[in-house]
Symmetry: C2
Subunit: 212 residues, 2 copies
Amino acid sequence: MNIAILLYDRFTALDAVGPYEMLGRLPGAEVVFAATRPGPVRTDLGSLALTADVPLDEVTAADLLLVPGGPGTAGLLADEEVLGWIRRIDATTAWTTSVCSGSLLLGAAGLLKGRRATSHWICLDQLRLFGAVPVPERAVFDGKYATAAGVSAGIDLALDLAGRIAGETVAQQIQLVNEYDPRPPYTAGSLSTAPAGLADTLRANDLVVTAD
Amino acid sequence: MNIAILLYDRFTALDAVGPYEMLGRLPGAEVVFAATRPGPVRTDLGSLALTADVPLDEVTAADLLLVPGGPGTAGLLADEEVLGWIRRIDATTAWTTSVCSGSLLLGAAGLLKGRRATSHWICLDQLRLFGAVPVPERAVFDGKYATAAGVSAGIDLALDLAGRIAGETVAQQIQLVNEYDPRPPYTAGSLSTAPAGLADTLRANDLVVTAD
């Protein structure tokens, strides 16, 4: 199982690392982190870099492609080097997947036309720009295309994928290794559960968290 | 708010990145990833490296210290360079925290004597070796010491910490930015919910996931 994870400047760390922690534990998984230029790639918060071990042109096929999201996607929506690579890898995959605004890159690559897909709540409607059908769910499957909602949703998507790829028992082992029995101390993780006005505050501040 | 996150060879990526994604979004947060030697630090699965931007001796204080876990902890339980650094930073913190087997490093540094603490289920009892009181809960607070259970539990702990540090509204903003409304597709994330025998299988295989 060859897994390719795209990195790019100002991606969101957990978008990539949540699914990595799940899918990287599949028996036989071989994961490669790839970017336009190999070396450290900075996340959106600036204080962390993940290493891209290989340049995009050295990855020519994958069983599973994962495209994380983050503010850096905006600058790549017309980047033919990245979009062309996504299209070429997609032609070889069993699964093409994204987390958060990574689905906008799949859309910009032309892969989601007429397909149901999801994204971070702040940019879900932008999927329409690429002919996709936005679905406000945490994980959306349409054929081999699997898209997750914002950031942490990639963990749920990846565990679902693990079960589809390797069966329920393997997925449950992965869940128990990661002790994934979530107990959020607050109930504010979705538009439908968050206190009124919270999303508007975040929209007004480009998702930057502010003290009152 | 200065946050120091320790990296070391064969740490578990999500142990560090889950809390980073939450705490790094606190207003005014300044996060630094530190290791014995700066540069790329490989995770337990080998296919990912996170960058340590500074060596340990350049970090002399922090408001919050986070020690992730992973198989690499075993080799550090008598490493005076790392344990001494943890003790020195702890002397300056408002919060000293760990995820997964990171609590064994806090214990080995002598910080958990007589304190309630948790860890990954596979090594929870080892906390007794350091005079700590093992508590099989997802997040355990004892004074300024906050420990999380395995891997993904660091997300819940960090969101709890975010609320204690900056208030409920900030924590809820962070939760909504990360769309943290978990929906695991399986129910196997804890010893009490996993199918019978699953933990024994993982114990027999040193937590390496195997196909049947």
